[in-house]
Assembly symmetry: C2
Homo-oligomer: 506 residues x 2
């Protein structure tokens, strides 16, 4: 042992300026060095010396060689440190001892490889010249990024299969293997580093952008309505209350009434992308207590279909836009979440509520025409439409008028129905639109039943008394859209930091 150590010391090279921890970056000098990105390092950079800042995704020692996998977003590249003229054992030891997920700066020469590098996106190799730690990770991560990046096993079909097989042992193994949703959410920053999450939130950014892009081209302007309200906007939803100086305030559940007031203030086409809040007690897989609403409101000249047509076009613009712009992201998400690509048939299937009831009847499901159907029947309808028409996207039109205190315009030919519609994706709603009542007396009568709230709503009703425009609006749930598009199983996978009745952290 002693001999070996002596030997190593004798062989050691003065490579001390080639590795080490960087002191805190804190307005040091500017050097004008150029950092490359992992994604940019490929065949075209072979032979060049590059500078890179990335995380250590994986690391192993093999004899006198240190192998690293460096990661930036979902791009990975292999880097090798070999003992040589200018690199001694100490530097190799130092490199091998850096914890995974630490951030390092590496200067390296890009080399060609003659074999396929498994598990790396980049098919070239880095020959490390210098390595400096920018920030060290702690040794014990709550879970490994690789572990968290594995295929999500769909519990539900497995569970059913398990029950049939009565093979409890296997079920437990599967559950152990998976990192639980809670573990992921408790350590969200780590979970978000997985390739699928990196891709999901890039697409999320893109959806909001497509939404805005389409509407701005159509002459809409972006507005910002208050989230602190003196009245409760939706009576059939749970609300968050708070003390606001001397008032009782509510967090906005929908910007609908403010969008309408903006129209009455002569902004004829408006949209907003903003948070909405609902105090939902049940922790379902498809709802959040805080979510992003993509809202629009527009004047109607003579017919409710003006709204329906525009929002249908918008929805298809977004759906096609995702496919066109996020090809790579889609593939990465599919690796973990194994979703089937969205199918759309043209012309878009439009069903009235009556049509939908008939379709359900055909498979023996009885649905009252007076009430809107439950989530089970919604999903059933989705299945039927998929089988019959081969589409994941369809429109359900002219919905039942369940709530008589509603601000939604009833259908002229049959007042039991509203001038309202919903867009469905994979058998669940992603958007709903309505023509609103723009006649103040009509509206006042509708809202009288609510009692005290009608007083609080007087600003809203008054806004229709000074000459009002016929109008309607539509709202998309951004997380809902994302979660259904990629079949993410749980809507929490579509929120950076989800909020539900048992989660307010991180």
């Amino acid at each position: 042992m002693i001999n070996q150590q002596l030997n190593e010391k004798q062989q050691d090279i003065n490579d001390g300026d080639r590795y080490g921890d960087v002191s805190l970056i804190q307005q040091s000098q500017k050097t004008n060095r150029q950092w490359m990105k992992v994604s940019q390092i490929n065949e075209s950079t072979i032979g060049k010396t590059i500078l890179l800042r990335a995380r250590i995704h994986n690391s192993r020692m093999k004899g006198k060689i240190a192998f690293l996998v460096l990661r930036e977003n979902w791009y990975t590249i292999q880097a090798v440190l070999t003992k040589g003229e200018q690199i001694g054992s100490q530097m190799i030891k130092y490199t091998g001892g850096i914890n995974l997920e630490s951030v390092v700066d590496i200067e390296a020469v890009v080399l060609q490889t003659n074999f396929k590098i498994k598990d790396c996106t980049q098919q070239v190799e880095l020959h490390i010249q210098t390595i400096r730690v920018i920030s060290r990770s702690i040794t014990k991560l709550p879970f490994q990024i690789e572990e968290a990046s594995r295929k999500i096993i769909d519990y539900y079909p497995n569970l059913q299969q398990q029950k049939q097989n009565e093979d409890q042992q296997q079920l437990i193994q599967i559950q152990d293997y998976q990192i639980s949703q809670n573990q992921r959410l408790n350590n969200r920053v780590l979970d978000l580093r997985t390739p699928a999450k990196q891709a999901i939130f890039r697409v999320k950014s893109g959806i909001a952008l497509l939404f805005r892009q389409f509407l701005i081209e159509k002459g809409f302007i972006e507005i910002h309505t208050p989230k602190l309200l003196g009245f409760n906007t939706k009576n059939n939803y749970c609300k968050f209350k708070l003390q606001y100086f001397n008032y009782q305030a509510f967090l906005s559940q929908s910007s609908c009434k403010y969008k309408q007031m903006c129209l009455m203030a002569d902004f004829e086409r408006v949209f907003e992308v903003s948070p909405a809040f609902r105090a939902l007690h049940g922790n379902t897989h498809r709802e959040l207590c805080e979510f992003i609403c993509m809202d629009l409101e527009m004047v109607i000249k003579e017919n409710y279909t003006e709204l329906l047509d525009l929002t249908e076009e918008l929805c298809l613009f977004i759906l096609k836009g995702i496919e066109k712009k996020f090809d790579q992201e889609i593939q990465i998400i599919a690796k973990q979440f194994q979703f089937q690509p969205i199918k759309i048939c043209y012309p878009i299937i439009k069903l009235t509520y009556f049509d939908a009831i008939k379709l359900l009847q055909e498979v023996g499901i009885v649905q009252s025409p007076q009430y809107y159907f439950c989530i089970t029947n919604q999903k059933q309808l989705g299945k039927i439409v998929k089988e019959k028409y081969g589409t994941d996207f369809f429109i359900l039109n002219r919905l039942p008028r369940e709530n008589q205190n509603s601000c939604i315009m009833p259908c002229k030919v049959d007042p039991n129905f509203n001038l309202s519609y919903k867009f469905f994706l994979r058998g669940e709603e992603i958007a709903s639109g309505h023509q609103r009542i723009h006649d103040p007396e009509h509206l006042n009568n509708q809202l009288k039943g609510i009692g005290q709230d009608a007083q609080l709503l007087k600003d809203y009703i008054n806004s229709f008394r000074y000459g009002s425009y016929p109008h309607g609006g539509c709202a998309f749930g951004l997380e809902r859209f994302l979660y259904l598009y990629f079949d993410l199983k749980n809507i929490r996978n579509a929120s950076l930091f989800p909020r539900d009745s048992s989660r307010l952290f991180p």
Copy 2:
């Protein structure tokens, strides 16, 4: 009298299908008629018959002629209804009797005029063929749109002048003449119909768009961070508390910590445009309890100036973008708010805090280098810089480290100062940026002093323990930007539905 009535009756024409109230627009038939906009009706449409939906802005009868001024946004056009072959007295009476601000559909022929039409933006005249009321306004408006559109008299200089003149009489007259801020806000939908407000909120939409456009080009992605927090993000600000199921929650005062966590989750450049909430008791003219924050956060490779340079470029992109895109809006706002156009000198003036103190000293103002200056000194500095350099925009760099519990990175060469800066417009702050502490132990020590909150902040601090990137961010107040750009006197003029300690409605 009787004779006259008989005469009128005898002269009457069967024009009943040319006027009247339209029944509620409620999915009636589609006619494919095309409505024009007031702004589109000009010399090029002379001789054509057009269809228009607009408000009655003004109306008067002169003999057997009804003169209307129709308005759409800030565009106005004169319309005339003259007794003729197909138009009888009843139709003229009906038209003259429609209340101002009612919405009407008009079919009319566009005619040339040989004289300038005072008070109308469009210099052609409409010869009305049919008129139908879509929605009637009530008779008594809280105030007239014309009245609310008049020049805002700057109270403060007047007040001083008045005091000198001791002419109290005149002061009272000026105040009577003006519609108060409260009257405007109580009837916000009407106030927003004034040309200046129409223009202000179109520019507001544009600023957010310019902000996004610049950042997306620079590789940023848009994020959505929660507004319901389990911890309080800024300790020196007033917060809104609420009961969140079994937890105590706070409304977000800044998305800063979540933006940082997103960076630690490998989204290297992020931005957000979202509401922020501060429970400010004082109803100052320059602060709101709910406002829109335009936030960005980015990794830094080696120097804090990477952030400063990018945000400086962003800020100039927005300032120039407004000038370029909203020429017409600027003119319209200037008519009511009488602001001086922004002046910028190049290269941009960058002062350190020391430089600023010296400038103040030169005019006899003593400012301690240990504390950031008050609003009076800020404005003084703005004046001095304007006089000396001829610019309304400048940067103040390296600010004093007042709060030792801060997450802001101290300056290496002098730890009494932070790596932080502010952008000034017309002597007030519109944005502030900082490099943040990315070392977890350093950060932990900083936040220890806060006590219990440090425990609540553990998710935040932990996010730096798994390898962290040096980084910094900057936040712009959207309403603040707008209010200073157009010198709107009161920040409430930059919010559709402002929230302060005495206002939660409408």
